[in-house]
């Protein structure tokens, strides 16, 4: 044994060392077994048998142990840190309360599909939208969500959310590292991306799956040329259409992908023509031809969905739905909004890096930035698709500026040679450990490892997993009162009421506003905002029960309380339930008989 071994052997003899033998002995065994032939050159110095006094074995210096993890599984310190970071992110996201709006509607659709084995042809939940054609652009996501919810309750949904968010961040960071080779710029990309999408994307909904697909698409075909990121062409033929096919079935945002591919092709063509001054150069460039053909194949791949061509019609006409004008997330972006401020700040940052970047600016990235930027201005919800492109553009050009800065400030001798980081098994162990911990401490992992628990535990966990905006108590009350007929509800709560309310509840609307007939939607707004003839509308729809949120519907609640026809049945800080004193449903069925 070498000197280190001697040091280790002597460590237990230090004063104050009272390590229990039961703990130490196994360590000693490991230590001994870890020694290799090379490190046992001084083996004669080790007593073959420990004396009774020396029964506490010395600890080895881990830094000197031989790495027995196979070379192909060893990783770098950076990898381990990223893995730990993403594991922490995953766990944190796993405990994010579920947003109270459309997630429950998607789960409900998913359950219907799973139970019936078909996608409903018409809207199945809103009586006032009976017969309305349903082209379910998120059917696959909904099935996944319903399956997860069915198996793991809310933990399954939290898993979907955490997994999707982590995957998005992983892809953004991965693309940046590949493009720049710099971890710090990867962090920068992540930060910019997160800031830009904070208010829009990180709500659990099928759109998250769309975002993952978009980032996969960027990873497969980035707007910036880089040798380490360029896929072999044979993969692009299948991978890109494959991603688009998956995306088309997961979420209706897939045209963003086609726009992206189109933007890439158009930009590269422009660059080619400008560079060569020859239009024919486009057709002679094999990579350009390939990107166009891949775009075409992607457009065809999208047709592999339950609706075929009708899916295109649906998503391309979706924005024309008049109801969307009343939803803030579909409104035009203004500078007063968070989204507007963020977009403006990002535009300034990009202007700065483009001004100073030594890297050639491709037409593709400009086209994509301008195109997605304009879309975001028209509809603020589109900001999320601009975010990854903008964040990556900033990092790529920021990194180029940084490299030039370093080159000017430092002499060639000062610039450290890029030394690939040492790969070690310990980092693999750290990474694996963190992944395991993330799995084990996330709600879904806890359920898998320790079971669902008692019904009381499950109920507690369920309530804890819901966002603050969820009307849990009011819904419980509604379950006890079992309302008859149509229930007027806050639009934002429709999906949760569908999920947790009485099984046969007939809701005025859910958050799938595009499926609500425009006349009904207008009447919803008229009642909710106490417009003219609001009470006449309540009579015409035969509504006997109203459940609304107090912060947003104060006026309506006040008017109903003042009315002789209505009374408060339930009220808490969050919600109010009001019922008609002389219910129309009863009038219709019982009044005449009673008389």
């Amino acid at each position: 044994m070498n000197n280190n071994s001697a040091e280790n052997r002597e460590k237990p003899e230090e004063p104050g060392s009272n390590m229990p033998s039961t703990l130490v002995e196994p360590d000693a065994e490991i230590q001994e077994s870890s020694l290799t032939d090379e490190t046992t050159s001084g083996a004669e110095e080790i007593p073959s048998q420990l004396s009774d006094d020396d029964h506490v074995a010395p600890l080895a210096d881990p830094s000197k142990l031989e790495d027995r993890i196979p070379a192909q599984f060893r990783t770098t310190k950076a990898f381990a840190f990223w893995t730990i970071g993403f594991s922490i992110l995953y766990v944190l996201m796993s405990y994010q309360p579920l947003w109270h709006t459309d997630i429950w509607g998607h789960v409900a659709y998913g359950h219907v599909i799973l139970e019936t084995g078909t996608i409903p042809a018409t809207e199945p939940f809103m009586p006032l939208a009976e017969g309305v054609r349903l082209i379910d652009t998120s059917w696959l996501s909904q099935i996944i969500l319903a399956a997860l919810e069915g198996s793991f309750s809310t933990a399954g949904l939290q898993f979907f959310y955490a997994f999707s968010v982590t995957a998005c961040c992983l892809l953004i960071a991965g693309i940046t590292v590949r493009l720049t080779g710099n971890q710090w710029f990867a962090i920068t990309s992540l930060c910019l991306f997160t800031i830009m999408v904070w208010k829009a994307a990180f709500v659990i909904r099928p759109q998250l799956a769309g975002m993952v697909c978009f980032l996969m698409l960027i990873a497969a075909t980035p707007p910036w040329k880089h040798s380490t990121l360029s896929l072999p062409s044979r993969f692009q033929w299948f991978l890109v259409p494959g991603i688009m096919c998956l995306w088309a079935n997961l979420h209706g945002s897939f045209p963003v992908g086609l726009l992206y591919l189109g933007g890439l092709f158009a930009g590269r063509s422009v660059d080619k023509i400008v560079r060569t001054g020859n239009w024919a150069a486009v057709i002679n460039d094999e990579s350009l031809v390939r990107s166009f053909l891949v775009l075409q194949l992607s457009a065809v791949a999208v047709l592999l969905n339950p609706y075929g061509l009708a899916l295109y019609v649906q998503v391309l006409t979706f924005g024309q739905n008049p109801n969307l004008a009343d939803l803030t997330e579909w409104n035009t972006m203004t500078i007063e909004m968070y989204h507007g401020k963020v977009a403006a700040a990002m535009a300034v940052l990009l202007a700065v890096v483009y001004r100073w970047s030594p890297r050639r600016v491709s037409s593709s990235e400009l086209l994509l930035l301008v195109g997605f930027g304009l879309l975001a201005v028209v509809t603020r919800r589109m900001l999320i698709w601009l975010a990854p492109v903008a964040a990556l553009a900033f990092s790529v050009h920021g990194h180029a500026i940084w490299k030039r800065f370093l080159a000017r400030r430092l002499t060639s001798n000062d610039i450290p040679e890029s030394d690939p980081e040492e790969r070690r098994g310990i980092w693999t162990a750290c990474a694996t450990g963190s992944v395991w911990c993330a799995f084990a401490y996330a709600p879904i992992g806890l359920m898998l490892l320790h079971g669902a628990g008692t019904p009381e535990q499950q109920a507690k966990r369920y309530v804890r997993s819901l966002g603050k905006g969820t009307p849990v108590a009011a819904t419980e009350y509604l379950n006890t009162m079992k309302p008859r007929g149509l229930v007027f509800n806050s639009y934002e709560w429709g999906d949760y009421l569908l999920h947790a309310g009485p099984t046969d509840i007939q809701l005025f609307t859910t958050s799938h506003a595009h499926l609500v007939p425009p006349d009904v939607w207008n009447d919803y707004l008229r009642i909710a905002r106490v417009g003219s003839n609001w009470n006449d509308r309540l009579d015409r729809y035969g509504i006997d029960t109203v459940i609304v949120d107090k912060p947003r519907r104060k006026s309506l609640i006040g008017k109903l309380k003042d009315s002789d026809d209505w009374k408060v049945a339930y009220e808490d800080r969050q919600a109010a339930i009001l019922v008609r004193k002389d219910p129309i449903g009863v009038q219709k069925t019982e009044k005449a008989m009673n008389q």
């Binding site: 018409t122 006032l128 009976e130 017969g131 309305v132 054609r133 094999e286 031809v289 390939r290 053909l293 075409q296 194949l297 457009a299 065809v300 047709l303 609706y307 075929g308 061509l309 009708a310 295109y312 019609v313 391309l316 006409t317 007939p517 425009p518 006349d519 009904v520 009447d523 006449d536 009579d539 015409r540 729809y541 035969g542 129309i584 009038q587 219709k588 069925t589 009044k591 005449a592 008989m593 008389q595």
Partner: protein, 413 residues
């Protein structure tokens, strides 16, 4: 390079075949939507109209104890289409036409015949005859790129309710080939008006009473179709819509909804328009209406406008104008005339209501009738239906009988 061209060829083939197959596999409704988006085609529901003459719902009773010939003649005499020439309201003509039908003929030249009334509604030139002195009045017939529609609303020269003109023409027996002369086109027919109604119908619009009736009388036995927005519209859905909400929330104190429901039930008897579940719901609904009107009739025989409150309507009477009472009583008598007996209140109540109607119609002056012609026209129609009479036929017979009587009196003298 050959390899590149081969790839291009293969991908173009995949692209064309892929989209071609997808288009072929797309449903008709989606193809129409696609065409309307891509090439601006205006989507008109693809509904087959299985007849050229509308169905009729014959009355079920001929009960002289409800109204005798003399009283009926007296009432019909009051509601003959004797309108002021200038600014003739389409609403009056529509009501008169549905009562007297296109076959109506009157000896008195001041009366509009059935064909006059039909032409007023369907020929812009005829309409202009009555409105030429009025400035800024819009034509009743509206040319649309995809068809012909009726201008409706509260302004001068308009029909008052959506699809009321269509329903009245339908009830009056106007055939599908009847030509329509719009302000700019002369190649429309009644069928175009019906198709346009199918195109612009929205199940959640405020008034569906007349659309429901017209569609039932033209489209039966077709149960459902896609509307212009791709929504499946069925007679079940229409019936559900007609029953929705507080009972008095509808035109004429909610009575038109009951009439339209009864029409659908009668059509269902012969053409199976409704599901059995919906038929049961309508049955329950109509029986409830029966109980409410049985409980809400006043001693003098009239029904109040708040008939839906049942007994409470009598205990806490509403201060109704006469016209409101005429509306409620006349309309209830009208739907009861086509309703099976299970939906009737006791026959004495019907008799009392009829008596009240007669008394409050025959004693009115022409001007009083004309002021509220639309409401009184329902009274006349209802009473004629209780005798299973077509008003124009009854009137002609009555005139002949009167002539014969006077001739025999003269000869006796």
């Amino acid at each position: 390079m050959n390899k590149v061209w081969m790839k291009i060829g293969i991908v173009q083939a995949v692209f064309v075949i892929g989209f071609g197959v997808a288009y072929i596999c797309t449903s008709n409704a989606d193809q129409v939507r696609l065409n309307s988006q891509l090439i601006g085609n205006i989507h008109t529901p693809n509904v087959e109209v299985p007849r050229t003459e509308p169905l009729r719902i014959p009355p079920l009773y001929d009960d002289p104890t409800v109204i005798n010939d003399a009283d009926l003649a007296a009432v019909l005499e009051r509601i003959r289409p004797r309108f002021r020439f200038a600014e003739l309201s389409p609403n009056f003509v529509e009501h008169a036409l549905r009562v007297w039908t296109v076959d109506a003929k009157f000896d008195d030249q001041k009366m509009l015949s059935g064909s006059d009334m039909r032409d007023f509604l369907l020929d812009h030139a005829q309409f202009l005859e009555y409105w030429r002195e009025t400035k800024n009045v819009e034509p009743l017939l509206v040319d649309r790129p995809q068809g012909i529609a009726i201008r409706w609303g509260r302004e001068l020269g308009m029909s008052v309710h959506h699809d009321h003109t269509l329903a009245c023409l339908t009830e009056a027996g106007v055939t599908l080939e009847t030509p329509i002369f719009s302000p700019s086109q002369r190649n429309f027919t009644m069928k175009d008006l019906l198709l346009e109604a199918l195109r612009d119908f929205r199940i959640d619009e405020r008034e569906t009473e007349w659309t429901a009736m017209a569609f039932g009388l033209w489209l039966a036995p077709q149960k459902q179709w896609y509307d212009a927005h791709g929504r499946i519209i069925s007679f079940d859905l229409i019936a559900e819509r007609l029953m929705r909400g507080q009972l008095d929330k509808g035109v004429c104190s909610g009575t038109h909804r009951v009439y339209s429901l009864m029409v659908l039930m009668r059509l269902d008897d012969d053409h199976a328009l409704l599901s059995s579940k919906m038929r049961t719901e309508i049955d329950t609904h109509l029986q409830n209406v029966r109980d409410l009107i049985a409980a809400s009739q006043f001693e003098d025989g009239h029904w109040p406008s708040n008939w839906h409150k049942g007994k409470k309507a009598i205990e806490e009477p509403k201060k109704d104008e006469l016209k409101s009472k005429v509306i409620a009583t006349g309309h209830h008598l009208e739907w009861l005339a086509i309703a099976p007996q299970k939906y009737h209140p006791p026959r004495d109540m019907v008799r009392k209501a009829a008596r009240w109607c007669v008394e409050n119609t025959v004693n009115k002056t022409n001007d009083e009738i004309l002021d509220h012609y639309t409401f009184f026209s329902h009274v006349g129609n209802a009473l004629a239906m209780w005798r299973s009479q077509q008003p124009h036929e009854f009137w002609q017979r009555h005139l002949q009988a009167t002539d014969e009587d006077s001739n025999s009196d003269r000869s006796n003298k």
